[in-house]
Symmetry: C2
Subunit: 359 residues, 2 copies
């Protein structure tokens, strides 16, 4: 990562942590374990990509970035609550190097109450559902308090409305598709459904980040304005490119730098464009072979190599790289339409970093 970008991201992270650690909202939550759970993800490490997008877009369009600080912190909490609920759903145990919220709460229960493991695990999930529920409200409360930083109340109201209609619905529907598609027969899922999942899970909130920064800068929530439409297009291209790259690295990446076990999408039976494209282009024997490599209990390197070969032979790997490259170009074209200043440069550097990181 470029030093300038790294320093700027560090600066955003420290500003967001400052806003969130000092924020009075969670203090009134009880019991104590729920109060801690509500603060947990928002004050953990993490790159704070979303707040950076809000602030830098605001700056790039000539806005006062200080006015966008509560909105930037709000999108971070909004992202947090979806992660808390997602981690329950996916039964994930680690988030940003620490136990996930439901695991943290289950450990608290094991230490605090004389109950068996099953009761403590259930307590962890139950409380984590409630922690996410409060975080959703916290995000809205903080976004509303953008008026205290000088944002126009009518503009803030439109942003809340957008977040709680288009964005929430899209984001949660995307997560729901992510739960639903693996329940179906893998080879009957369509490309359109996979794209819909990505747009819901990843693009919706990114678009909100960009458009919020833009709206605060321009003092307008007319999302049909060319500047705001351009930002939405950027978020769409960047979000899809990022997710497709993540899918690619999930198979072809290096385990150590990728951070997740390879082929986890295959193991969990999650359809990806990479998989669907290979199934479409492989001869029948290859299709059968690839399908038989889904849902296995373990994925030793030998199995991963077999998957890689099938994805390469079918041409799917190359086509995916080309697609990623197309979306990356689109994202950069959108950014080039912004006024030429240091915030635009940060957005360009961030995009290059996000989309280039391993390949």
């Amino acid at each position: 990562m470029k030093t300038v970008l790294q320093d700027a991201l560090r600066q955003v992270a420290s500003e967001i942590i400052a806003v969130l650690s000092d924020d009075p909202f969670p203090a009134a939550v009880y019991p104590e374990c729920l109060c801690s759970a509500v603060r947990s993800y928002p004050v953990r490490g993490g790159k704070r990509i979303r707040p950076a997008l809000v602030l830098w877009t605001c700056g790039a369009l000539g806005g006062d970035v200080r006015k966008a600080l509560n909105a930037a912190a709000a999108v971070e909490i909004y992202h947090s609550w979806t992660l808390v609920h997602d981690d329950i759903i996916d039964e994930d145990e680690v988030r940003r190097g620490l136990p996930t919220t439901h695991v943290e709460l289950a450990s608290h229960a094991a230490a605090a109450y004389k109950r068996d493991k099953k009761a403590c695990d259930k307590f962890g999930c139950d409380m984590a559902i409630l922690a996410g529920d409060i975080q959703q409200a916290w995000a809205i409360d903080l976004l509303l308090r953008s008026t205290e930083l000088g944002c126009d109340p009518a503009l803030v109201m439109e942003l809340v409305r957008r977040l709680q209609s288009t964005v929430n619905r899209g984001l949660i529907s995307g997560e729901a598709l992510d739960v639903e598609l693996p329940m179906r027969e893998l080879n009957k899922v369509t490309r359109a459904e996979v794209i819909k999942t990505i747009v819901g899970k990843t693009v919706c909130l990114l678009q909100f980040c960009l458009q919020t920064g833009g709206a605060i800068a321009l003092g307008s929530t007319d999302f049909n304005r060319p500047e705001l439409k351009n930002l939405a297009d950027y978020a769409n291209a960047m979000g899809i490119a990022f997710q497709l790259r993540d899918d690619y690295l999930g198979i072809f990446g290096d385990f150590k730098t990728f951070g997740k076990p390879l082929a986890s999408d295959f193991q969990e039976g999650k359809p990806t464009l990479l998989f669907l494209d290979a199934m479409e282009h492989l001869p029948e024997a290859g299709q059968k072979e690839l399908l038989a490599l889904t849902g296995l209990p373990e994925y030793p390197m030998e199995t991963v190599r077999k998957i890689r070969a099938l994805l390469r032979d079918s041409g799917a790997a190359d086509r995916l790289l080309k697609e990623i490259s197309g979306y990356t170009d689109q994202a950069l074209v959108c950014l080039n339409a912004l006024p030429d200043n240091s915030y635009r440069q940060l957005l360009i550097d961030l995009t290059a970093y996000m989309l280039d990181r391993e390949v």
Copy 2:
């Protein structure tokens, strides 16, 4: 129930159903099963007490009830989403005579996908978490759309802010205490903690209903105004009286009319004021006997009778009835301070019905 009250409640129910069935919000939710789940509780039967409180309070204070219709529908959805998540947490299977959301979704999965029961049950809970998450957003979106009915935007913004700070935090913290208290040793729970649970779970949203109706009528969100403080006092007294009466009926009521199995609080190890008071006043042998009657696998009538005898002998039952009666009087005193009109009469009749229903 008085015929006038019954007709008025029916009228509210049909208005709320009309608003919610026609509302465009859920249509954009996917997949289809999640879309249905989001609509499910809001359009089911139910007495619609909360919307009635919003509308009638608005009317009693001389406001235009039509302006409060979106707010009334919004509190119903807000109540719904907490029920959806609560039903997962409590593992309840029936709500208003139909399967709970997670059970409905599990049945859908069993019919739609070739997966085992465990996978379908998990699908049901996962999707129900997401359904509640969307409903929370729907409630906010609908409340914001009160501006379309002529409510002042600044007033609506304050209502959203109150709902997503004080009310959400109190309500969810109350639910969390309801999860946490049974994890502890029952006889170490305090009376203050039980009251805090009731205020959180029941009073917070009731207060919001009353104050929203009042705020729309008065065109003011100064919650320190005597009229709005009086409404909050009413909600506090009514909510506590209602919950204490529910606790009482849970032991002394008639199974058929109460609708829930008797002594379920004892079975689930949920501390009630009734239980704590009895423990405080019983001799040591009686305390041991009562404690031994918690957490049993079954509660045949003979066991319920033993519990009843201990609660009566300790004087706890009589003291509880006196307390309920005190709160009921307080609630009615608050209502008597409202202008004398037909809406006030409906509020008085509703209160009498809610607090008298079985005893």
